[in-house]
């Protein structure tokens, strides 16, 4: 299937859904699901159809440049990943969004974001890359704002940072054009080979700012917690799952497809090596946001901070430039997509059923009311932590191993500490939502509807599938790495085959299953316990008052008191400070226009005098 067909379907879907929304709501929902599923199908079908046949110049002359689309392993991999998560979110939206206003807008924007992202990965040149990037940016902005209230602020924050990034990217892209006269990604790789390292660094910086903003690398991350928590949950899933990871795609594209592995590794000397500095940024991005996540009480904010933190792992793996590390980075990207999307959907389901509550201090005990959501949450946090049998484990293992064998234990330490922070905070998420006492008012909460359960269960399946048989995605990643000139890994279906440092998920899986079976057997051997209601529990002789005795507020209080003084988001504070000062300056600037006509005339005459003075003093002409 040609990339053109995919894009046409994507954009036409967005348009049609909007129009259908004017006609009938069922038609709209149907079309939305249909087109997002059709995209998954189309992309899946086009697997392996790479090469020149699928390079299409769709606008031959855009101000003297060619706009082209192409399909290659990297593009295909990201495309299918985008399409699947988006499709799941759209299906989830069916019941989540039911009865809300402006649904035509909502669905068409969902599909437009999707189309924009597909456009990004399918573009064959940087101009179309930029165009689709921007389409994605502004449609995202509109979607974030959709929920109103504080979402508006989040949306503004997002779009301003995003605009800064786009400006930087535009400069980078057009500098490439000025230097080499082409923007075709395929040609740029050869063209840039001979340029000086300073120039390459400039390009990487310019692009890096754009990608970094989207990717929420540490000093550029501040939009993300707000945006993720304020967006509607299905879109948060897309946002955190794939949209943010477009930055990853960008980094991969620029660093390895264009600049090339060798140049990257030799950029700078010793400690001040480009990829080394990037890795440190990644490591910092892991630790600080993860611990900030620990302090959050808003379920989605907590997940959003984890989204930032997990991004650090990807950068860490990717920046290292070893086969294993990059594979880990890419693999972690899709893994993260699967479980963070899952978690956002779960939170969405809870939110849906409890009437919009996502404050962790006010929930609890929902396990009995919403078992599927609980299961999804459990699997999700296992993935997020990286417990064995989940896909998160494999990719993290790759990254850790890279760090240790490459001799960077400090980076590894930060990654590990980040993992521990993750464990603490996601357990809090699980505990405060599903475990403990069920508050009185949620007694009547019903199960999540089927259209929510399907995506949740689907992601659970994916998490385990890739966790036990990581070879499936890793094959595809291998294909990507081949095009970038990495040494091939010794892959097997169940992990990595290379001597003592090997990984065999199948063995671990068997061992765990057997151990499970044995323990279950043991349990059967013992006396069977009597089922009692959840509330009927030991409380030193008196019964526990229902709904009032749930330990969730300040769950990790001792730790909060210790670390919270150190974990203010000072970057965000700095941005606010700067914005505040800038506004002050703006206000002062406005005072130039005093409203007194004489002053304006004075300006005119001073301008004239200035010109004459300049000429007298410096002979400007």
């Amino acid at each position: 299937m040609s990339p053109q067909a995919i894009l046409i379907t994507a954009f036409a879907g967005a348009g049609l859904v909007f129009l259908a929304g004017k006609v009938h709501s069922h038609l709209r929902d149907f079309l939305a699901v249909l087109s997002s599923l059709a995209l998954v199908g189309l992309i899946a079908w086009s697997h392996g159809q790479y090469g020149p046949d699928n390079e299409i110049v769709y606008v031959p002359d855009f101000l003297g440049m060619e706009l082209a689309l192409r399909l290659n392993p990297l593009a295909w991999f990201f495309a299918i990943y985008i399409a699947i998560i988006n499709a799941a979110s759209v299906v989830f939206s069916l019941s989540y969004m039911k009865g809300k206003e402006k649904l035509g807008f909502y669905y068409s924007m969902m599909l437009l974001v999707n189309a924009g992202m597909l456009g990004i990965v399918l573009s064959g040149d940087f101009l179309s890359f930029y165009i689709f990037w921007e389409i994605m940016s502004w449609s995202t902005y509109l979607l974030i704002s959709y929920r109103r209230g504080p979402a508006l602020h989040a949306g503004m924050k997002y779009i301003i940072m995003s605009l800064v990034g786009s400006c930087a990217m535009l400069v980078g892209i057009l500098s490439l054009y000025a230097q080499f006269g082409t923007l075709q990604i395929a040609e740029l790789g050869e063209a840039i080979a001979g340029s000086s390292s300073g120039y390459v660094l400039f390009i990487l910086m310019a692009m890096g700012i754009a990608f970094g903003v989207k990717f929420a690398i540490l000093p550029l991350h501040t939009w993300m917690p707000d945006a993720h928590s304020e967006a509607v949950s299905p879109f948060s899933a897309v946002l955190s799952g794939v949209l943010v990871r477009m930055g990853m795609y960008g980094f991969l594209l620029v660093m390895y497809s264009i600049v090339g592995l060798k140049t990257i590794l030799n950029l700078g000397a010793g400690f001040f090596n480009f990829h080394y500095i990037l890795s440190w940024l990644g490591a910092i991005t892991i630790v600080i946001p993860t611990f900030i996540a620990l302090l959050q009480n808003d379920a989605k904010k907590l997940l959003a901070w984890h989204g930032i933190g997990q991004g650090g792992y990807m950068i860490l793996g990717m920046a290292f430039g070893t086969s294993l590390g990059v594979a880990g980075g890419i693999f972690h990207t899709i893994n993260h997509g699967s479980y963070i999307a899952l978690l956002f959907l779960v939170v969405g389901a809870v939110e849906y059923r409890t009437g919009g509550v996502r404050d962790l201090n006010r929930l609890g005990g929902l396990i009995q009311r919403m078992p599927v959501a609980f299961f999804g949450c459990l699997v999700g946090i296992m993935g997020l932590i990286g417990m064995p049998l989940t896909n998160g484990f494999v990719s993290k293992w790759f990254i850790y191993k890279t760090l240790i064998t490459e001799g960077h234990p400090f980076l590894a330490f930060m990654a590990f500490v980040g993992t521990w922070g993750t464990i603490l905070s996601v357990y809090k998420l699980l505990h405060n939502m599903f475990l403990g006492q069920l508050p009185e008012k949620y007694k009547e909460v019903r199960k999540a509807p089927i259209s929510m359960q399907i995506p949740i269960l689907f992601f659970c399946f994916v998490i385990f599938l890739f966790g036990v048989l990581p070879g499936i995605p890793l094959r595809a990643i291998q294909g990507i790495q081949d095009t970038m000139g990495f040494a091939p890994l010794q892959l097997t279906m169940w992990g990595l085959a290379s001597g003592a440092g090997a990984l065999n998920m199948l063995n671990i899986c068997f061992a765990i299953v057997i151990a499970f079976a044995v323990v279950l057997l043991l349990m059967r051997l013992g006396a069977k316990p009597r089922r009692v209601p959840q509330e009927d529990s030991y409380a030193a002789g008196s019964s526990v008052p229902a709904g009032k005795y749930h330990h969730s507020v300040e769950f990790y209080n001792p730790l909060y008191q210790m670390i919270s003084p150190y974990l203010k988001d000072r970057v965000d504070q700095f941005y606010y400070w700067a914005a505040d000062k800038a506004q002050g300056v703006f206000e002062l600037t406005r005072r130039i226009y005093t409203g007194y006509a004489g002053t304006y005339v004075l300006y005119i005459i001073s301008f004239l005098a200035l010109l004459i003075f300049l000429q007298l003093a410096w002979e400007i002409w």
């Binding site: 004489g598 004075l602 005459i605 001073s606 004239l608 005098a609 004459i612 003075f613 007298l616």
Partner: protein, 239 residues
Amino acid sequence: MRRLISLLLLLIVALGIFLCFSGASFGAEGASRAGKLTEDKVNFGRRYASRGLEENKAGNIVASVVVNYRGFDTLGEVTVLFIAAVGLAAILHARREEATPSKAEPASLIVFTGCRFLFPLILLLGAYIFIHGHLTPGGGFQGGAVVASGFLLIYLGCRGRGLRSAGVAVAESLSGLAFLAVALVGLAVGGSFLLNFLPKGSAFALFSGGVIPLIYVAIGFKVGSELGGIIDNLSGEAR
């Protein structure tokens, strides 16, 4: 403070202007001293002075330049005046609707009669000036201004009388259109806008200069009606 800054700035500007004149020759006078007033070029109007009479048969070279060589400017100029008249009417529109009819006393009989007596004479003088614009100093603008002064007199002397707005509208429309029509006929006949397509006659006769007197008459009417209209509007009389 403000005065000081203003003076300083103006001083710089003045210095700049002063230094302008220190260099090469400036203006027609400078050129003539440097002996650079050549006739084949457009150079300081030499060409018009030497060949204008022969080309347009109009004794007043300024009229020739105004109506023919730089007639396009004149069209713009007429337009500007038109804009001023229309704009002024538009701006004062609301005011005129609000205003109440003035109850000023009528002028004394002597003034009244004197104005009525002078009025046709003034019109005649104006007409004379614009009709002879191509021969003597003066022309459409000057004539038009004189005509307008006649209306001013009527306003001052004979309260309650004046131009009828419909009449003004028709006059300014038709005179403007006449100007354009003459110019466009030139375009149609000779392929050039404002072309002096009529037989030019012999110099210094009343019927000479081709289209120049025609256009001057049109301008005269137009300027007269527009200035009249402006006066009418500024007088603030209620309608």
